[in-house]
C-alpha cells in the first residue's frame, strides 16, 4: 500500500534551508531520508519551494483569478511530500512520527487512491 506523507513546516523550519550543511534540522532530514531508503520503503518525494514563491490559480465565473501566495493562509505550510510503500496505516504513522518535521510542524498521512487513479487514467 502506498501512503503520502505531507510535510507541513513553520516559517522557522523553512528558514533552515538557507543554512549550511551543518544545520541540525537538515542533518536530521538527511538521516531520515537514508533510513527510509535503507528500510526499502521509499518510493519518491520532493521538498517544495517556500510558500512565498507559490502562486494560486482559480477560475471563477469564467474569469482567471491569480493570487500571489499559497492556497491556505496558515502558519504552517506544505513544505514537501514523500511517497512510501508500507503494509499498513500503523506503519505509516510510525514513519511519520520519526519525520523531523513531526516535532516542529506536522505530518499528514494519506493513503494514495489507486482506484480513483485507475478511473482517471484508464
Amino acid at each position: 500500500m502506498q501512503f503520502a506523507l505531507l510535510i507541513y513546516e513553520s516559517p522557522e523550519a523553512f528558514a533552515t534551508r538557507r543554512n549550511d550543511r551543518n544545520d541540525v534540522y537538515l542533518g536530521a532530514w538527511r538521516a531520515y531520508y537514508r533510513a527510509l531508503v535503507a528500510a526499502g520503503v521509499y518510493v519518491g518525494g520532493n521538498p517544495l519551494e517556500v510558500p512565498e514563491i507559490a502562486t494560486t490559480v482559480r477560475i471563477k465565473e469564467g474569469k482567471r483569478g491569480v493570487q500571489d501566495g499559497p492556497y491556505a493562509d496558515t502558519k504552517e505550510q506544505l513544505a514537501g511530500f514523500a511517497i512510501l510503500e508500507l503494509p499498513s496505516l500503523d506503519a505509516a504513522l510510525e514513519w511519520a512520527a520519526r519525520c523531523p518535521a513531526a516535532s516542529v510542524g506536522a505530518v499528514e498521512v494519506r493513503p494514495l487512491a489507486p482506484e480513483t487513479h485507475r478511473r482517471i487514467t484508464e
Binding site: G27, R30, A31, Y33, R34, A35, A38, A39, R98, A102
Partner: protein
C-alpha cells in the same frame, strides 16, 4: 457537611478514579456488557456532579454510584428491552439495588476484567487501550495519541472489541492454574506497553506512552494487590519503578537528553528505587524467575551506582544471558550487546550485534544507536557515521535526535 464546589469536584475525581474499574468490572461481570456498564457509570458520575455539590458527598460514595448506575442500567434496559433482556441482565436487575448500597461491599471483579481485556481473542494491540479505558476510566482522547492512532479510529476499534467480548462468549473468570502463566503474561505485557519505555534507557528514547507511565504503575500496583503471590507481577512493578525513578535525571536543565551512563544518581528518586528493591526481593523469595524480574534485576544493578559509584556490567551481562533464554527479542539482544561492550569490550559487543539478522533490525532505532557508539569507540569513523545516520533517521524524540547528531561529529 456541605463542601465547597472545588472540594467536591476533587472528591468526585478521586472516587471516580478509585472506583471506576471496580464498578465497571462488577456491573459487567454478569452481563459481559462492558459498554453498557461504562455508559451507566458515566450517567452516575454526571448525577454525582449535580447532586454532591448540593447535598454533600455521601458516606459511601462508591455504593451511591453503584446504585445510580444500576438504575441507569435498568432504564437503558427498559428502553431497549428486546435487545437487552438477556437472562444475565435480568438477573442483575432483579437484585435489590439498596442491598449493595447498604452493605457497600461488593466483590472486586477487576482481576477478571483485566483478564478479559488481555484475552487472546482480542486483538493484542487493543489490550492496553481497553484496560486504560475500562479499568482506569481514561478518556479515549488521552489514550489514542500514545498509540499513534486517531481518537475516532481507536473509539471504533474499542466498540468492536467490546461487542466481541459480549457476543463471543469471553468469560469473566480467573484462568485455571495451567492457563494462568500465559494469560497473566498478556496482562503484564499490556500494562508494560502503557508504561512504554523501551528495553533500557541508555540510548532508547522515552517512548510514545510516556505520560501513561503513572497509569501503568497504578495498574501494576492494583494487579499486585489482587495477585500478591505472583512473582512476575512484582517483577514488572519493580522494573517500572526503577525506570520511573530515573525520569528526573533523563533530561538536562536545557531539555537535553541524558543517557543513563551520564545521569547524576543524585537526581534519581530514591523512594521509588527503594520500593522497587523491596518488590524485587519479595519476588525472588518465590523462586520463580521470569522476564520482568530479570529486566528489573538489570535496572537494579544500574541503580546500585547511586551508592557504589560504579556499574557492575558483568552482573548485567549475566542477567541478559538468562533473559535471552526466555525472551530473545530484538530489544533484549541489543541491550545484551551494549552490556557486553561495557563488560568485555566494544569488539565483543559488536560481535553480538552482528549475530542479529540485519533485516529484522533495519528500522529498530536502538540497534543502530548502540552500533554507532561501538563503531565509534573502535575508531571506525566511516561506518560509525553511517550507523549514527540510521539511528538519527529512526529517532522519534527530538532530544534523542539532537544527542545522536552531537555524538556523530
Amino acid at each position: 457537611m456541605i463542601k465547597s464546589g472545588q472540594d467536591t469536584q476533587h472528591t468526585i475525581e478521586r472516587v471516580a478514579r478509585e472506583s471506576y474499574g471496580r464498578l465497571v468490572a462488577y456491573l459487567s461481570s454478569h452481563t459481559h456488557d462492558v459498554a453498557s456498564a461504562e455508559d451507566a457509570l458515566s450517567d452516575a458520575l454526571v448525577a454525582a456532579l449535580r447532586v454532591w455539590p448540593q447535598d454533600g458527598v455521601p458516606q459511601k460514595p462508591e455504593a451511591w454510584l453503584l446504585t445510580v448506575a444500576r438504575h441507569s442500567l435498568i432504564d437503558r434496559a427498559r428502553h431497549q428491552r428486546v435487545a437487552l433482556a438477556s437472562e444475565p441482565t435480568l438477573m442483575l436487575l432483579r437484585q435489590d439495588p439498596q442491598e449493595a448500597s447498604v452493605a457497600a461491599e461488593f466483590p472486586d471483579e477487576r482481576l477478571k476484567l483485566l483478564f478479559v481485556c488481555a484475552h487472546p481473542a482480542i486483538d493484542p494491540a487493543l489490550h492496553t487501550p481497553l484496560m486504560l479505558q475500562t479499568v482506569l476510566g481514561l478518556d479515549i482522547a488521552r489514550i489514542a495519541p500514545a498509540f499513534l492512532i486517531s481518537p475516532a479510529a481507536l473509539g471504533q476499534r474499542l466498540v468492536r472489541a467490546k461487542a466481541k467480548i459480549r457476543h463471543a462468549g469471553i468469560q469473566f473468570e480467573i484462568p485455571q492454574e495451567g492457563e494462568l502463566p500465559q494469560r497473566l503474561d498478556a496482562v503484564l505485557e499490556a500494562i508494560y506497553a502503557a508504561f512504554g519505555i523501551g528495553w533500557d534507557d541508555m540510548v532508547g528514547a522515552d517512548h510514545h506512552g510516556r505520560d501513561l507511565a503513572e497509569e501503568a504503575i497504578w495498574l501494576a500496583r492494583l494487579l499486585m494487590n489482587l495477585l500478591p503471590g505472583e512473582a512476575e507481577v512484582r517483577g514488572l512493578l519493580a522494573l517500572m519503578l526503577h525506570c520511573e525513578a530515573r525520569r528526573p535525571a533523563r533530561r538536562g536543565q536545557d531539555g537535553r537528553y541524558v543517557p543513563l551512563s551520564e545521569q547524576d544518581p543524585r537526581h534519581w528518586a530514591l523512594p521509588l528505587i527503594e520500593e522497587a528493591e523491596r518488590h524485587l526481593a519479595e519476588a525472588s523469595r518465590q523462586h520463580r524467575t521470569g522476564r520482568f524480574q530479570l529486566e528489573a534485576a538489570i535496572q537494579s544493578v544500574h541503580a546500585e551506582r547511586a551508592s557504589s559509584g560504579r556499574t557492575k556490567w558483568l552482573a548485567i551481562v549475566r542477567f541478559y544471558e538468562q533473559l535471552i533464554l526466555i525472551s530473545p527479542t530484538l530489544g533484549t539482544r541489543t541491550g545484551y550487546a551494549a552490556a557486553v561492550a561495557e563488560a568485555i569490550g566494544p569488539e565483543s559487543g559488536l560481535a553480538v550485534l552482528d549475530d542479529i539478522d540485519l533485516h529484522c533490525a533495519s528500522d529498530y532505532q536502538p540497534y543502530w544507536a548502540v552500533r554507532a557508539h561501538l563503531l565509534q569507540r573502535l575508531g571506525k569513523a566511516r561506518e560509525a557515521f553511517e550507523a549514527f545516520d540510521r539511528a538519527i533517521g529512526l529517532a522519534e524524540d527530538p532530544a534523542v535526535r539532537q544527542f545522536l547528531l552531537q555524538g556523530r561529529r
